[in-house]
């Protein structure tokens, strides 16, 4: 019995001693000469390799680099919890710019750096990191958008420019046209309005949203610049309603997320789909020789017979330097390298991530990438997705869902539209 007592007290002492010493050891850690880099799961290996290259090329750097995992789409969610403990260098999607700035998670670029990236990268990508007259990110990817993939044996190339021809071609062959209307529908659905001249203007005071105004009740403008008798909201909504009317079990329009797309590919009944580069390899594999991609189609309104286009969102990914970093200049050097031409080239080679670097965009490999070419072909009319207020997503998502469910009809369209506009407008002044 004596033994058990000893063991017990030993364990207790051991536990206390262990936690105490470990706690003390923490104070003397080498946190002060380490830079932490966050990168998404799939880029971990690549980023580690890039950092190794960087350290080898810059023996004077003098700091250690540590790694963590954080998706570009999750950057704000994570950084806002504890900006001081967050990585010194991390990637983010440009729609989180304002939020990240307001929680102190961004430090601005020197003019020299700005001039450098302005030379090498797509102008819109550089602007995507701008607040006021300061720039807060090194762009490295320009592929956060959507366009149309199609099966060449189902949709003829000349039909791809018009939404209804695409849907009809799919219907004829009993295939599906997939587009997301529910869940993340707001991201895709807005393209109907933006292509008819829709605008959603945001006014910021520093990083605080003052007003948001949408002009969906203004008169629509078609691709030739002719002003219609109908409003942007009416034209856009009616086009979507017409498309949705082709919802049919045997083929035609259906709502679908990535899982549905995958399923349609497996069942070999996908005719065309509006989605982004992340599905490229899957679709290419399934469609084989019939794999093709192009810009989002135009649509002819059944109201006034004018032609409008779907103007999709385009988003960029940038490397940021944390505003709380202890090593500002070193972090900027590293962030710049992680978004440099070399890094973007490797990112494209290994993960087919669409570069924002102009030189790489012109390389043969990128030009032969069907999906990226389709995406880049939208540059002239795509709408840069900036930091949008939460109500934008919730209100538009409900609206798109209602259209898909057939809850919006010719009779209640005007009231529903008025509600939509009311829901989108924000006034915090």
């Amino acid at each position: 019995m004596k033994k058990s007592k000893k063991i017990l007290s030993l364990l207790a002492c051991g536990a206390i001693a262990a936690s105490a010493t470990m706690g003390l050891a923490a104070c003397g850690g080498d946190k002060d000469n380490t830079i932490t880099v966050w990168a998404p799961q799939t880029q971990q290996t690549l980023v580690k390799k890039l950092v190794d290259d960087f350290l080898a090329a810059n023996p004077d750097f003098g700091l250690k680099v540590d790694f963590g995992v954080c998706g570009e789409d999750n950057a704000y969610a994570k950084v806002s919890v504890d900006p001081q403990a967050s990585a010194d260098v991390y990637g983010f999607a440009n729609d989180q710019l304002m939020n990240l700035k307001s929680c102190g998670g961004l430090s601005y670029l020197s003019d020299q750096m700005v001039n450098k990236i302005k030379e090498t990268d797509e102008a819109a990508a550089v602007e995507a990191g701008k607040i006021g007259d300061k720039y807060y990110g090194y762009p490295y990817a320009a592929d956060n958008g959507y366009f149309m993939y199609y099966d060449k044996s189902v949709v003829a190339e000349e039909d791809t420019t018009n939404l209804m021809s695409v849907i009809n071609a799919c219907k004829r062959k009993h295939k599906y046209f997939v587009m997301q209307m529910e869940t993340d529908g707001a991201w895709y659905f807005g393209s109907f309005f933006y292509g008819a001249g829709g605008k959603y203007d945001l006014e910021w005071d520093g990083d605080e949203l003052m007003t948001a105004t949408c002009n969906f009740d203004a008169k629509a403008v078609d691709i030739n610049g002719t002003v219609s008798d109908y409003s942007i909201g009416e034209i856009g909504s009616r086009a979507a309603m017409d498309a949705v009317n082709n919802k049919n079990a045997a083929g035609g329009f259906i709502h679908g997320n990535d899982t549905v797309i995958e399923q349609r590919l497996k069942d070999k009944n996908l005719g065309a789909v509006i989605t982004g580069t992340w599905n490229a390899s899957k679709i290419q594999e399934a469609l084989g020789n019939n794999y093709a991609a192009t810009a989002c189609p135009q649509y002819t309104s059944s109201l006034d017979n004018h032609t409008y286009r779907m103007a999709p969102f385009i988003g960029y990914k940038l490397y940021a330097v944390n505003g709380f970093t202890k090593h500002v200049s070193e972090s900027h050097r590293l962030a710049q390298y992680l978004a440099s031409e070399t890094a973007q080239q490797q990112r494209f080679n290994e993960l087919q991530i669409g570069p924002s670097n102009l030189k790489i965009q012109q390389t043969e490999a990128v030009k032969n990438n069907v999906a990226l070419q389709a995406l880049f072909s939208q540059k002239d009319f795509a709408v840069v997705q900036t930091s949008l207020p939460d109500n934008y997503w919730s209100v538009l998502k409900t609206y798109a869902g209602d259209i898909y469910a057939g809850k919006i009809t010719n009779d209640n369209l005007s009231t529903k539209l008025a509600d939509l506009i009311k829901g989108l407008n924000v006034d915090n002044t």
Binding site: M1, S4, K5, L8, L11, A12, A15, S19, M22, G23, A25, A26, C27, G29, K31, W38, P40, Q41, T42, Q44, T45, D66, F67, G68, V69, C70, G71, K78, V81, D82, A85, S86, A87, D258, T259, E262, Q263, W278, K282
Partner: protein, 289 residues
């Protein structure tokens, strides 16, 4: 005409059948998620949810890859981390709970009642309400990120003595005269606890160990906050959730299922091993002597 009479046996059989059908249905509903997880973990096709239930291709690869393919996710490491946390928590928490219960059951001191009331009230607050505050406190002490595991153990055991109810109830059932006899023979409180009470309280020790061991395996919130993106310090719950990230879920969904099944193994094993004590422990405490 008189109502047709049925024998008692027939009536009993009827009710029994009804009861068993209901029970069977309930157990199917209850077991189904776990069953689904096991089936999915053996699925050969990739992708997240499939529209059919039975896999078209069966494989054990998901389990093998989970432990061998460490290119993106280091499952074995998370598993080990969680196991270590669990062992530490089990040891410390068991000691805390038993000691507290003994004191509150046997000793009479001025603050006993107020203390018990205080613990009751404190226990009403959900732990995660103080999460952010606790996190920043630990950060001040340097017990996050690199020292996150120590911090995690601290967080898990910090208020563990408040779970003294069941074991105190059990100690209450052990006759006081045993203590008194030992005390007359010159034993100290400590000796009484170690030599008299503990050997009699095996079921409740086992119960305490089991509950303490189980908790860290499924804990997500604190664990993710402490690791803060550093994969080396993930526990299984945080790590497995990362496998469902939209970038990788397609490939890793079946492995995620395999991982979830693996997580349940140590708990289940311990449970089966200590099962007979467990039932005694839970029910024993409820009978007041």
């Amino acid at each position: 005409m008189a109502k047709k009479l049925r024998s008692k046996k027939a009536v009993e059989r009827g009710t029994n059948i009804a009861i068993y059908v209901i029970l069977a249905l309930i157990s199917i509903i209850w077991l189904f998620p776990f069953f689904y997880l096991v089936i999915q973990s053996l699925r050969g096709e990739t992708g997240t949810a499939t529209p059919y239930f039975w896999p078209k291709e069966w494989t054990f690869n998901n389990y093998i890859k989970l432990f061998t393919d460490k290119s993106i996710f280091n499952f074995p490491k998370w598993y080990l981390t969680t196991l270590i946390i669990s062992i530490f928590v089990t040891v410390i928490q068991t000691i805390f709970v038993l000691v507290t219960s003994y004191a509150l059951s046997r000793m009479r001191f001025k603050m006993r009642k107020p203390l018990m009331n205080l613990m009751l009230v404190l226990g009403m607050f959900p732990g995660f309400m103080s999460m952010t505050a606790v996190y920043f406190l630990l950060k001040l002490l340097g017990l996050t990120q690199d020292m996150g595991l120590v911090g995690l153990v601290l967080v898990y055991v910090a208020s563990s003595c408040m779970g003294y109810y069941v074991s105190k109830g059990f100690f209450d059932t052990i006759p006081k005269s045993l203590d008194e006899a030992a005390r007359i023979d010159g034993a100290s409180r400590h000796t009484v606890f170690i030599k008299i009470i503990l050997p009699l309280a095996k079921p409740i020790i086992i119960y305490t160990i089991l509950t303490a061991f189980m908790a860290p395996w499924g804990e997500y919130m604190f664990a993710s906050l402490m690791a803060f993106g550093k994969q080396d310090y993930y526990n299984v719950a945080v790590g497995l959730k990362d496998m469902l990230d939209k970038e990788v879920a397609d490939i890793y969904f079946t492995r995620f299922c395999a991982g979830s099944v693996i997580v349940s193994i140590p708990i289940t094993a311990l449970f089966f091993w200590l099962q007979k004590y467990y039932v005694e422990g839970v029910t024993g405490g409820s009978v007041k002597g």
